[in-house]
């Protein structure tokens, strides 16, 4: 449980947000050309890092906008928040 600084609304309680999982997983540009292994990689395989991880979050009970977050999963500390489409801050 923590406070999230929504890039559109400012600081709000985490319970207002929902987590969309690992960020920067690009949707395949040509889905018809993917092998089963590549589909499995895209759909299911995750880094699930203990440490600094890039994630997508949605302010579900607020502005309902999606954004990205850099968070340390070993202590839940948020290191950065940035908008969709922006380049992730270099760690």
């Amino acid at each position: 449980m923590f406070i999230i600084n929504c890039p559109y609304c400012g600081e709000r309680d985490q319970t207002e947000f929902s987590c969309g999982g690992e960020a920067h997983i690009e949707r395949p540009k040509q889905p018809t050309e993917l092998s089963d292994d590549q589909w499995a990689e895209y759909l299911f395989m995750r880094k699930n890092i203990k440490g600094v991880q890039f994630e997508r979050w949605n302010h579900a009970h607020g502005c309902r906008k999606w954004f990205n977050m850099v968070r340390d999963t070993s202590n839940d500390k948020i290191q950065a928040v940035y908008k969709m489409g922006e380049k992730p801050p270099v760690k």
């Binding site: 759909l43 395989m45 699930n48 890092i49």
Partner: protein, 417 residues
């Protein structure tokens, strides 16, 4: 077994003031090389080593544990054991475990306090009723005991439940598995550790794995805080930290690790003599032999390794508990904790070989691994010893995420995962 526990050993040691009990397992330094290494000294890992030694005669093996045995999720779960899963593959897997539970105390010469107090699952809406009736039929077709109870029968079986029709989520009925129940969780880890140690298995505690060394596609050993240990077979049973170990070996798993919470109340006199679970409102409760109510809450919705969990999750569970059991309204909660569970996209476990030769994973048990401990150990030992899965865990391979042949127990399991 060298020091068999019995009524006579109890009397003998009582007469000498209980000062001469021998330690239940050794505390060895790691050897340079083993025939197989199990990473993770929880119930599943220790059970795996026990069956590797007992059934497959592999005794030159070690279990390495970064903390102390049974100090992870084995000691953090709510100790519920049941096998009323919907799909055939899951029913086979969990009932295999339940059958081993039934004779486990005798086999290990260690009282795991398996208590067949029954597990009841409540239905709160029409869809619940349909789903649970369907599951009852599926269970019976698979030879697993299950009965449907109407509201009056639920009330009769557990009188403290509020079955009034005007509550927010009224009780419309439920299922009951009478062979299901609870067991003492640390006794399971200790019993398996003692049994494995007696057959020569080295249990190495306070030994954290920092790397998995491989030569091409063959595994070679592990880097640990106690040095490099060589082995051509490595079985990883690390629950919430499975992905961390997979990353060391350079592979990815379809897992997300999240905190799952549980809490216990102050101890009271016997008030609930069964386990009651409710999927729709996510509340489940039983009473420990010490008298504490043991309550299971849900998982957080984001990846975290903090072993804490959010306050709002506990609040939601307690709200549901209070509506279903108004008698608990003035009880105080004593302790709350979290364990990191590794959740698969289909809420079913992985007991499988990997693309790396000699590297095996037993993971993805998510929120419901404790009940499977003996079966999981048995089947994982079979998979490691033969380099082939047993027919009961063949469906739980890693390749199902490529083939699409998932074992989807998400909505189908008896409680929300």
């Amino acid at each position: 077994m060298k020091n068999k526990y019995s009524i006579f050993s109890l009397i003998k040691n009582a007469l000498s003031g209980h000062e001469n009990w021998q330690r239940a397992w050794r505390d060895p330094e790691p050897k340079k090389e083993y025939d197989a290494i199990i990473i993770g000294g929880g119930g599943h890992g220790l059970a795996t080593s026990y069956y590797l030694a007992k059934k497959h005669k592999l005794t030159n093996i070690a279990v390495v544990e970064k903390g102390w045995i049974g100090g992870g999720n084995t000691g953090r779960n709510t100790t519920i054991i049941r096998s009323n899963y919907l799909w055939d593959a899951s029913a086979g897997l969990y009932d295999h475990a339940l059958k081993i539970w039934e004779g486990l105390s005798q086999e290990l010469n260690y009282n795991v306090m398996f208590s067949k107090r029954g597990v009841m699952n409540l239905a709160h809406n029409l869809q619940d009723v349909r789903d649970l009736k369907r599951r009852t039929h599926a269970n019976r077709l698979n030879g697993i005991d299950a009965v449907w109870l109407n509201t009056e029968e639920v009330k009769k079986f557990c009188p403290i439940i509020n079955t009034s029709p005007d509550i927010r989520y009224p009780v419309l009925g439920g299922t009951l598995q009478k062979r299901a129940g609870t067991a003492r969780h640390d006794a399971v880890a200790w019993g398996y550790a003692r049994g494995a140690d007696a057959m020569g298995v080295d249990i190495i505690q306070n030994c954290e794995v920092n790397g998995i060394r491989r030569n091409g596609d063959q595994v070679e050993g592990i880097e640990t805080t106690k040095g490099f240990i060589k082995s051509k077979k490595i079985g990883v049973v690390a629950a919430g930290h499975s992905s961390v170990l997979a990353n060391m070996a350079g592979i990815r798993l379809p897992l997300e690790s999240k905190p799952l919470q549980a809490l216990v109340s102050e101890p009271v006199k016997p008030i609930i003599d069964t386990v009651v679970m409710s999927n729709a409102v996510h509340a489940y409760v039983s009473q420990s032999d010490k008298g504490e109510l043991v309550i299971g809450a849900g998982t957080d919705s984001y990846v975290s390794y903090t072993q804490k969990g959010s306050h709002n999750i506990v609040e939601e569970t307690l709200r549901a508990i209070l509506e279903l059991y108004p008698i608990f309204s003035r009880m105080k909660m004593l302790r709350q904790w979290g364990g990191i569970v590794d959740i698969c996209p289909d809420a079913s476990p992985i007991i499988s070989k990997t693309q790396i030769k000699g590297l095996y994973f037993n993971c993805g048990w998510g929120t419901g691994g404790f009940k499977a401990t003996p079966g999981s150990g048995d089947l994982f030992a079979h998979t490691i010893a033969n380099d082939e899965p047993h027919k009961l865990n063949a469906a739980f391979n890693l390749n199902r995420f490529v083939s699409g042949d998932l074992v989807d127990e998400h909505g189908a399991a008896a409680v929300a995962h």
